[in-house]
Symmetry: C2
């Protein structure tokens, strides 16, 4: 049953759903005609006035189903009852997939970013923005250990999160192991690595692991790494912002003459 | 008189002074043995306890002169009476210079960044951090129009502001005109430019003008530009974060094989 085509299709659909919460973020989603919304969710406790009334009217004018829920049920849908303000909307993100589903379809020279403890929402949003703009085929993201895909991330991504190739996984080390089994290089970005990002031009697939700004790449991810890569720095600068590092990775290929 | 060697030496000294304010930022400066501090300034109204007592003791142990001032005089020194918390310290930044003094000393293939309306302190700090780490010989900065060099900028720069090659100018268009007169290229970063940053490899000196995130490069700076440069973007992404753009410029040369 759990392997039936209907089940898999349904699951693949829900993997692509990002639930956006908060009155202003939800209004902005509904005002964007490029975003496909699956359903609007409202708490029964909302008063039908102001922004809530605008939100409902906009959803109805776009033929988006409107569901009402108890406050508790809505908190389960938004996953953030403290900040959802009684409002959430399911947005379809066409490029979101489960990593294990996407793996067989990756191009032979795939370039992936792996997020290993990106807890600052601003940095996470900027990474997504640069990865979407540059040459990155997928962003490996586990919910545990990274910032949640909430309003701060969406804002810092300048709305690019909705079209970013986010590859969802349960455990980053597990996903990296699958990459290695497919003969992909797993590169841990680390200031003390001897080889630089710019010296390394992989022939096959490659995953670049970005660690936490303070802690660096975690031991679990490091265990799966096939090499370390550094970015050269002058003037005694000890590290770059992690979103800057991600952007240099996303554009390193474009900067090389073909 | 104003052109005497003593006057010019004194002026060049004060061009290199960055006044840091706020109790925690000042304490952090004093705790960093790599930073050369010229003087500590305290408001007479401070109570001599807690952080203020620690700050004074630390300055005295480092033989840094301690001056006390009226609240108003201290606000003039800190340039931010609302947030200085009665404490300021003058830090010597060896790579800070007046742009007009630095211009004759620039290398023939100098790479400069020009900041044209970077009002977000986080972005300004990140730009400085990447410029200091990468291949940038100077950062053209006018106080007017950009975020002030305050605690948020220092934090976002990860402390690299103190050693960054900041070139101070009164008016950015005026400084860009001087660059043009020295046959430097003045490149305005703009999403709609036909040439890309990666296609352009200047033989001589070059200034890259970074505009405001919302407004882009200002008309006054645009008038001095000799060309426009874009960064290619996929997936319909319309722009990159300005600090990311700065970082790609700072590393574009390093990414090219020599």
């Amino acid at each position: 049953m759990s392997d039936s085509p209907e089940y898999r299709e349904r699951k693949a659909f829900f993997d692509r759903v990002l639930t956006v919460y908060g009155r202003k973020p939800v209004l902005e989603v509904l005002q964007n005609p490029q975003l496909h919304c699956h359903a609007l969710h409202l708490a029964q406790s909302n008063r039908e006035q102001g922004l809530v009334r605008d939100i409902r009217a906009l959803a109805e004018s776009r033929d988006i189903p409107v569901n009402t829920h108890s406050r508790e049920a809505l908190a389960r849908i938004s996953r953030n009852g403290r900040q959802d303000q009684g409002v959430a909307v399911d947005v379809l993100c066409p490029a979101f997939r489960q990593f294990t589903d996407a793996l067989p379809d990756l191009p032979p020279r795939a370039r992936l970013l792996a997020l290993d403890g990106i807890t600052n929402p601003q940095n996470l949003g900027m990474i997504i923005r640069s990865a979407a703009a540059g040459e990155i085929d997928g962003i490996l993201y586990a919910r545990g250990g990274n910032a949640a895909l909430g309003p701060l991330v969406i804002k810092a991504s300048a709305g690019t999160l909705y079209r970013a190739p986010l590859l969802l996984c349960d455990s980053l080390p597990g996903a990296l192991r699958l990459c290695r089994e497919r003969q992909m290089e797993v590169c841990a970005l680390a200031a003390d690595a001897t080889q630089t990002l710019f010296e390394f031009n992989p022939d096959g697939g490659c995953v670049y692991v970005l660690g936490n700004e303070t802690e660096g790449v975690s031991p679990g991810a490091l265990k799966e790494a096939t090499r370390g890569l550094a970015i050269p720095m002058r003037n005694g600068v000890e590290s770059l912002n992690v979103a800057v590092t991600a952007s240099l990775i996303a554009y390193a290929g474009l900067m090389r003459p073909t």
